[in-house]
């Protein structure tokens, strides 16, 4: 038992890390363990699996505090890198996994037939994303991304008897397959021109041959694949439909975890093999960012369904993140990480509220949130905090995320982009506030109570997310310094 504890809680003072105490290995182990538990368990009810899964996420999140931070090392012949960037994203994934599983439990409590895989799949998805955050060559990258995508397909289409869920699953599958095709095509071209799949070797060989149009083509195609996962326009078409149709916890998972995985993959590419091709990449990223900002923020304006709004909102946030990345400086990268943290907390909060409220409203139309402030003021305020943070109202964390990104982009002299982003940020206020308006200023349509009580645990989850959203905004400097220390100060 003692050895398990010491391997689980990696200590900084210990000997060099071994492959068997990498977190992903543990996560997959937990996934398999849960599968076994499901097989051996006497009664057919998934509560025990759900509890075990949530508990295990909590344990792993606590264990992540013990990860060695000052260490930069590689495994499996360079295919896996352990550094601060990886740690930051792995923690985000764990937070997302924990919150998502918790929401799934809530969904089941609402009478939707739960099946045990619902709680087990996140483990494989989180492990896949963990590998993505540490990726060191294209093979690992591709396989991990596909593992994540396959898990997502199943989760999106999880309500097998529900037409919307199935439809969403089919859409996600087809568009996903298409993007995978582009991704693998791009990787092949890069392999053909660069002669290697390892990021470090590829960086060297591409540095000399970056005038080759084939390299540009490879880069564009790979970025297209990333753009799909990121839900960046013009590769966002699936997002509103899939967010709308998928089970709410899964929408949250796609909006937060899947997007974060795409961000870290993109960052790994940009500091690795694509570093010599920065100018080309920057142009692509700027184009994607501009398109996403416009499409996401303007598209959301005419939506009447909260989950669809969140789909477009997710596109717009992809735009802000891409904008930050395309600034390319060290502060910009820090800003992106801060932004992602703020976005993660607020988005989980919003989806958490939707998931908690949806049972009695039977849908996620905005008007079904009418009068929530009267019937459940606490929940309405939590939702408001989430919305205002996403809209970027100070002093919530979402504001500083935008502020940092604007500032770092401005510093690089890309004034037009700041204007564009600022304009769309003002426009975004309309749809975020629309939801607040429905909750506070509209009367419930038929006067019925909106929801029965939420369990104490679920309320706790929402409150913790809200407090974190506020807290990260109240001490932006401290959070930023912590991220900085984690990522750069090795």
């Amino acid at each position: 038992m003692n050895t398990v504890a010491t391997t689980l809680f990696l200590q900084k003072s210990q000997e060099p890390m071994q492959w068997w105490n990498l977190p992903e290995v543990w996560w997959i182990f937990v996934g398999i363990l849960l599968l076994l538990l499901e097989m051996l368990r006497p009664r057919r009810n998934s509560a025990s699996i759900a509890k075990a899964s949530i508990f295990a996420f909590a344990v792993m999140l606590i264990a992540s505090l013990g990860w060695p931070t000052g260490l930069e090392t590689t495994f499996f012949g360079g295919a896996y890198q352990w550094d601060g960037l990886a740690i930051f994203f792995k923690r985000i994934f764990l937070i997302a996994g924990l919150a998502t599983t918790w929401m799934m439990r809530k969904c089941e409590a609402q009478g939707i037939q739960g099946r045990d895989e619902f709680y087990i799949l996140p483990w494989f998805a989180v492990a896949a994303m963990g590998f993505v955050s540490s990726v060191g060559d294209f093979v690992t990258g591709f396989v991990s991304i596909e593992l994540l995508t396959v898990c997502s397909y199943i989760m999106v289409a999880f309500y097998r008897s529900d037409r919307f869920s199935l439809e969403a699953g089919a859409k996600y599958l087809v568009i996903g397959a298409l993007s995978t095709a582009f991704l693998v095509f791009g990787i092949t071209i890069l392999f053909g021109t660069g002669g290697s799949l390892r990021f470090d070797q590829l960086a060297n060989s591409l540095a000399s041959g970056h005038q080759d149009p084939a390299v540009t083509m490879g880069v564009v195609l790979v970025l297209v694949g990333v753009g799909f996962k990121l839900a960046a326009a013009p590769f966002h078409w699936w997002a509103p439909d899939v967010y709308h149709g998928a089970p709410t916890p899964v929408s949250a998972f796609l909006a937060v975890a899947s997007k974060a995985a795409a961000v870290v993959f993109l960052l790994r590419l940009l500091i690795g093999p694509f570093a010599p091709l920065w100018t080309q990449c920057q142009q692509v990223l700027l184009a994607l960012a501009g398109a996403s900002l416009l499409v996401g923020n303007l598209g959301a304006l005419s939506q009447r369904d909260v989950k669809r709004v969140m789909g477009y909102s997710s596109v717009s946030h992809a735009g802000f993140i891409l904008l930050g990345i395309s600034a390319g400086s060290q502060p910009a990268m820090l800003s992106v990480c801060y932004y992602l943290l703020a976005y993660t907390l607020a988005t989980l909060l919003v989806f958490g509220v939707i998931c908690g409220m949806i049972d009695k409203t039977g849908g996620s139309l905005m008007r079904q949130f009418n009068g929530l402030a009267q019937s459940r003021p606490g929940v309405a305020w939590l939702m408001t905090i989430g919305m205002l943070s996403l809209a970027g109202i100070p002093p919530l964390s979402g504001f500083f995320g935008k502020w940092f990104i604007f500032a770092s982009v401005w510093q690089e002299g890309m004034y037009v982009m700041v204007f564009l982003a600022g304009f769309t940020a003002v426009a975004s206020l309309f749809y975020y506030l629309a939801i607040v308006r429905h909750m506070f200023f509209e009367k419930p349509a038929d006067g019925r109570a909106i929801s029965s009580g939420l369990s104490f645990g679920y309320q706790l989850l929402l409150v913790v997310l809200a407090v974190a959203t506020v807290a990260v905004g109240l001490v932006p400097g401290a959070v930023q310094r912590a991220i900085y220390a984690l990522i750069f100060n090795l």
Partner: protein, 601 residues
């Protein structure tokens, strides 16, 4: 370390707001007491700070972006001290007034919680020692104003007004943010003291004039939004949907004046850009006369006062634009006294007349409410610029500055003063004199002491606020005129007499509107014009989105129907997801465009 006490001004209202929001809300009387206490103690601290020579407390490291670290520090120069006295002093009085005005309201706790939040944010705007902090508090002020305008959210008009105020302000704040970023990229600092030293050692002057103008005009955009200058003035009249004490505190005395305060704070930058100065003066003058014209034809007592506020804010902006921030701040201070007085007086009337706001349904209230009557009269006279009251001195300062620098704007300002006397006399005569014209007015009676005491105190301040150099001396700002040209002073007195006389003669004994100008009554149709523009724009966006929807769904429907004829329902079910082909097409088109863009050039 007495400097530390400055923090109390921020901490106390914040604690009050937090405790009301989290714990005390069910206990209405306690919430009210806590909020009231925090406001008065803040005022005491501000008074202490005004007379003591306490400097600024040490700043705290806050955050860093791109190698630049921000300090969380307080600025406590004369300008801040005067503004702080106004904010906390008027704030404390209005807290007291609200205990009477809101005594019956079921949402009393929420009201006082929001009021404390406002006091926190507003003190933050005043005390911030850098642009980033100012911006954060600036937005917080907007949030608390949003909450308070929409306080009676059961009324659809209140929630619409709250949204409008918030969104219009965001348009201004967008420019504000651009201004801040420009200042930062030009000068590398956001700290006022540092920027001031850059201005002194000529580093600011070395910046290209065009860029400096962009920066200053960007910052001015923030002031245009918050101080409701043309063309972003539309939110302020609607904001009168909020409870009257809120209108008095936020939308007359303090928050809307934040724009002027801010312009004075960064005046060392503003004055270096002649273009920006003339734009500021022009906007100020335009707002002054424009709002005064509209005010002559409004029937709702609070709306008349709201347009009057707009007009007076225009006056202050005009003063800053003409290079005299001292005159602007002077008028801001006296205006805070008499406009808060007028609004509270109006609140007392409305309270007594059972929430009747139409002046044509009041009348004869003078005899029933003597304290309100007398104090309102003093406020009216001060606003009209009656000699020897505070408004006379501060308005004169601006008129003299205008007379000496820009004759066109002087005539505009003088015309505004004439209109001001006219519409205020109209308001006063119609609502207080004559016979009661409505049920509410017929059964009115004087308000309780908690409401009349602040009126009396503010009336005293409106009388003496213009004397001595206590205010102007403490400001430490430039630009107060030292000469008193007869034309300006005489003109000011003349328009006061003329305007009041005209108002009195026209409206004495009137039972209905005597003069009608449709265009003024409809406020120059600005709201309508904006609405058309916004509707057009959103229609255009909706059309584009709709086109895409039709394209996608249309394609699906056509093919779905065609297939349905030949294959089973199961296939149809799959085809429901059929628009996926269209998505795939768009996706591939996106890839093609990307590839062409990157490689085809």
């Amino acid at each position: 370390m007495p400097e530390k006490y400055w923090w109390l001004i921020l901490v106390l209202p914040l604690l009050s707001a937090a405790s009301v929001a989290l714990v005390l809300r069910p206990f209405r009387a306690v919430s009210m007491g806590v909020s009231l206490l925090s406001a008065w103690v803040s005022f005491a601290v501000a008074l202490w700070g005004f007379w003591s020579q306490a400097g600024s407390p040490e700043s705290v490291r806050w955050m860093s972006v791109g190698g630049l670290s921000f300090q969380f520090g307080l600025v406590t120069d004369g300008l801040a001290k005067v503004m702080l006295l106004v904010v906390t002093g008027v704030g404390a009085l209005i807290h007291l007034f609200s205990t009477g005005y809101m005594s019956e309201d079921p949402g009393k706790s929420r009201f006082f919680g929001c009021l404390s939040l406002f006091m926190f944010s507003m003190s933050g705007v005043v005390l911030s020692d850098n642009l980033a902090m100012t911006f954060v508090f600036w937005e917080l002020v907007g949030v608390s104003s949003y909450l308070l305008i929409g306080f009676w959210f059961e009324k659809p008009s209140a929630s619409a007004a709250a949204n409008k105020a918030f969104i219009v302000n965001r348009i201004g704040d967008f420019g504000f943010m651009i201004g801040i970023l420009t200042v930062w990229s030009l000068l590398g600092s956001l700290n006022y003291t540092q920027l001031q030293s850059f201005a002194n050692d000529g580093r600011v002057a070395a910046v290209p004039a065009g860029l400096l103008t962009v920066a200053v005009l960007g910052l001015f955009c923030g002031a245009v939004g918050k101080s409701a200058q043309v063309p972003l003035h539309v939110w302020l009249p609607d904001a009168m949907e909020g409870p009257t004490p809120v209108s008095a505190l936020i939308h007359a005395a303090t928050m809307v004046a934040a724009g002027i305060y801010f312009l004075c704070r960064v005046f060392f930058l503003v004055e270096l850009s002649p273009v920006a100065l003339s734009v500021i003066a022009g906007i100020g003058g335009l707002t002054a006369i424009f709002a005064a014209l509209i005010a002559t034809q409004q029937d709702d007592i609070k709306r008349v006062l709201a347009y009057s506020t707009l007009s007076q804010l225009g006056y202050m902006v005009l003063a800053v634009g003409l290079g005299s921030p001292a005159a602007g701040m002077f008028h801001l201070t006296t205006h805070a006294f008499f406009k808060a007085l007028l609004f509270l007086g109006a609140g007392s009337l409305i309270h007594a007349a059972h929430h009747e706001q139409n002046i044509w349904k009041m009348g004869g209230l003078g005899k029933k409410m003597p304290v309100t009557f007398v104090t309102f009269a003093i406020g009216t006279l001060a606003l009209c610029g009656c000699p020897f009251l505070s408004g006379f001195y501060s308005k004169d300062a601006i008129l003299i500055v205008a007379y000496e620098t820009n004759r066109t704007l002087f005539w505009v300002a003088l015309g505004t003063a004439l209109l001001t006397s006219f519409y205020m006399t109209r308001l006063f005569v119609v609502s207080f004199l004559g016979e009661p014209r409505g049920d509410g007015a017929a059964h009115a009676h004087e308000s309780p002491w908690a409401m009349t005491l602040p009126l009396v105190v503010l009336a005293l301040l409106s009388i003496v606020g213009g004397y001595g150099s206590a205010i102007t001396g403490a400001l430490g700002l430039q630009g107060l005129p030292h000469t008193h040209p007869m034309a300006a002073v005489g003109g000011s007195v003349a328009v006061f007499v003329l305007g009041s006389l005209a108002g009195f003669l026209v409206y004495r004994g009137a039972k209905e509107e005597k003069i009608t100008f449709k265009i003024l009554k409809s406020k120059f149709y600005v709201d309508e014009i904006y609405e058309v523009c916004v509707v057009r724009a959103s229609d255009a966006i909706a059309a584009v989105v709709g086109w895409m929807d039709t394209w996608i769904i249309g394609g699906v429907m056509v093919r779905g129907v065609a297939l349905c004829a030949s294959v089973t329902g199961q296939v149809f079910r799959i085809m429901q997801a059929g628009n996926v082909q269209v998505y795939a097409f768009w996706f591939a088109l996106g890839v093609a465009v990307m590839l062409y863009w990157m490689m085809g050039r």
